[in-house]
């Protein structure tokens, strides 16, 4: 018990735990859509392309979310433009935008900030979360979850059968860009926990693990969120006791859970008696 309680005497550990739990839930729930719609590469790109916006907002003392949102919109529009107007394959378009904006972000950082700042943006700064950061994280995270809840059935249709979304005359373009915006906001929420470089892991790994053991979307979201929370908490404790960076520790924990769930589901698939026990 003291193993679990001892770190809690430090306020910065408590704040880190709360941040990791919020981020675990928000990223893992949104990550379900990223996995189901095959948007992993786009998610990876977005987490890098927001960097220049975040850096500029950081220098100007603005909320980081504002810079991230501007870059999120520019990324989405840029990819859309290159795909439609310049007739590039989507992954090529994503790659071009990804590399260009990320380079701009690193260049801006190198011009005006210390290498510590750079490391924090790239790999997170979980132990440096302030009360103010927590408030913003909770507010933005709550907003993302609220929007996912409000548009649940529309996002479900759009993900499963985009053509059905069209025949039902759902606002498909609006929903698509709304989802991209949610990804941008979520990335801001997770920025302090894992940083830009490992963002993709926290977006897709819990959802991918959940997909092995669930057969319905709400269950997949719940299991994914649970895995995200457990990874976040495990990462903070691993950081404390093993003296390793918290961001990578969170991602390693998620990866370990993924491997365990994968092994479990492969073994179960081999034993015919276990048919149909999944959620």
């Amino acid at each position: 018990m003291s193993f679990l309680l001892a770190p809690l005497q430090y306020d910065f550990i408590v704040r880190a735990l709360v941040a990791a739990i919020i981020v675990g839930v928000v990223c893992s729930v949104l990550g379900v859509y990223i996995v189901l719609r095959g948007m992993a590469f786009l998610g990876d790109a977005m987490s890098h392309t927001i960097l220049p916006g975040v850096v500029v907002a950081y220098f100007l003392g603005w909320p980081l979310a504002v810079g991230a949102l501007v870059m999120g919109v520019l990324t989405a529009l840029g990819i859309g433009f290159l795909t439609r107007r310049a007739a590039l394959q989507e992954d090529t378009a994503i790659g071009v935008i990804f590399a260009g904006f990320f380079a701009l972000g690193v260049a801006l950082l190198s011009a005006g900030a210390s290498s510590v700042d750079l490391a924090h943006f790239l790999f997170g700064n979980l132990l440096g979360v302030s009360s103010g950061d927590l408030l913003i994280t909770a507010a933005l995270g709550g907003l993302v979850l609220l929007v996912i809840f409000l548009f649940y059935k529309e996002f479900l249709v759009l993900s499963f059968d985009p053509l059905l979304a069209t025949t039902l005359r759902l606002p498909t373009t609006f929903l698509h860009y709304l989802l991209l915006l949610l990804i941008a906001v979520t990335i801001v929420v997770a920025l302090q926990v894992v940083g830009v470089a490992l963002m993709l892991a926290i977006l897709v790994t819990p959802a991918a693990a959940a997909s092995f053991v669930t057969h319905r979307l709400p269950a997949m979201m719940a299991v994914s969120a649970l895995i995200g929370v457990v990874s976040g908490v495990a990462g903070v404790y691993a950081g404390y006791y093993l003296n390793i960076a918290s961001g990578p520790a969170v991602v390693l924990a998620a990866t370990l859970i993924f491997l365990i769930v994968l092994t479990f589901s492969v073994l179960r698939r081999r034993s015919p008696a276990a048919e149909g026990v999944a959620l």
Partner: protein, 276 residues
């Protein structure tokens, strides 16, 4: 807008046919043509009346999928006009498209009743949850296609015939009045095909119009009111006996056709089955 469902799409013109295409042309979008536009469909003109059952046949690349996209409203004609119940397709929520089975992600985490409920999403409207009427409609639709027992099953666990019937149930839940089916019978055994055709018979009693793309000329001849023979243009459109003639088939299929005309039957050899 009163009544239990706030959204029903735009009103239908009472006297208008279900479907009316007037000199419709559609350009290939995926090709950058140096020598002028290439057309997927040329001068397509036809009418389909309410409750009719039409089979659309033609070689690969004949424009069947393009025609479906125009009817659904994801594509617009580059020339000409295409109306559903007297208006362009864009405002209607009464058009259902049953995709080819290969186009569906069967590992997606949804149950059968989740999929059928998706058909209700247009009627339910934004920011609302499914109500009791929507669940009733979902269960009734599943019962009508004989799949009530499958409601809680994940869709990956279904047989091919069950998969198609679940998507037909979705069209029923949508209260569709025009149903488009893309090769629904491919790869199904005879009893499964029969079960789906029985559902189509049931739809006809409700006045639902059905357009079905198929490569199976026997089936088209036996079970459909009219056949549209398509190869970028409408080669022929009429009762099966009138359409399935050696000369019209030759014009539609060209070199891919082998006609054995000893007793008036024709056999089609169409080497590949991938449609685009």
């Amino acid at each position: 807008m009163t009544g239990p469902h706030p959204q029903h799409g735009i009103a239908h013109e009472p006297d208008a046919p279900t479907l009316e295409a007037d000199d419709v042309w559609a350009v290939y979008r995926d090709r950058l043509a140096a020598d002028g536009p290439r057309y997927a469909l040329e001068a397509v003109t036809f009418r389909v009346a309410r409750g009719e059952r039409v089979a659309i046949v033609g070689p690969n690349g004949a424009g069947k999928s393009t025609l479906f996209k125009l009817i659904v409203g994801t594509l617009r004609p580059d020339r000409g006009r295409l109306d559903v119940f007297g208006h362009g397709p864009a405002g209607h929520i009464c058009i259902a498209y049953v995709p080819q089975r290969a186009q569906v992600d069967w590992r997606f985490p949804v149950t059968v009743e989740d999929v059928v409920m998706m058909g209700r999403v247009g009627q339910i409207g934004l920011l609302r949850r499914p109500g009791r009427a929507d669940w009733t409609a979902t269960r009734a639709a599943l019962a009508r296609v004989g799949a009530a027992a499958l409601a809680r099953k994940q869709i990956g666990g279904l047989s091919g015939g069950q998969q198609q019937r679940v998507f037909l149930a979705r069209a029923l839940a949508q209260e569709a009045e025009l149903v488009l089916l893309d090769e629904p019978l491919n790869g199904l055994d005879a009893p499964s095909q029969e079960a789906i055709l029985a559902v189509l018979d049931d739809l006809r009693r409700d006045g639902v119009t059905v357009l079905l793309a198929t490569h199976d000329l026997d089936l088209a001849a036996e079970r459909f009111d009219r056949i549209m023979l398509l190869n970028r243009r409408v080669i022929a459109f009429g009762p099966p006996a009138a359409v399935l003639q050696a000369d019209t088939l030759l014009r539609a299929y060209g070199g891919h056709l082998h006609v054995i005309d000893a007793d008036g039957t024709a056999i089609i050899a169409d080497p590949s089955c991938d449609e685009n």
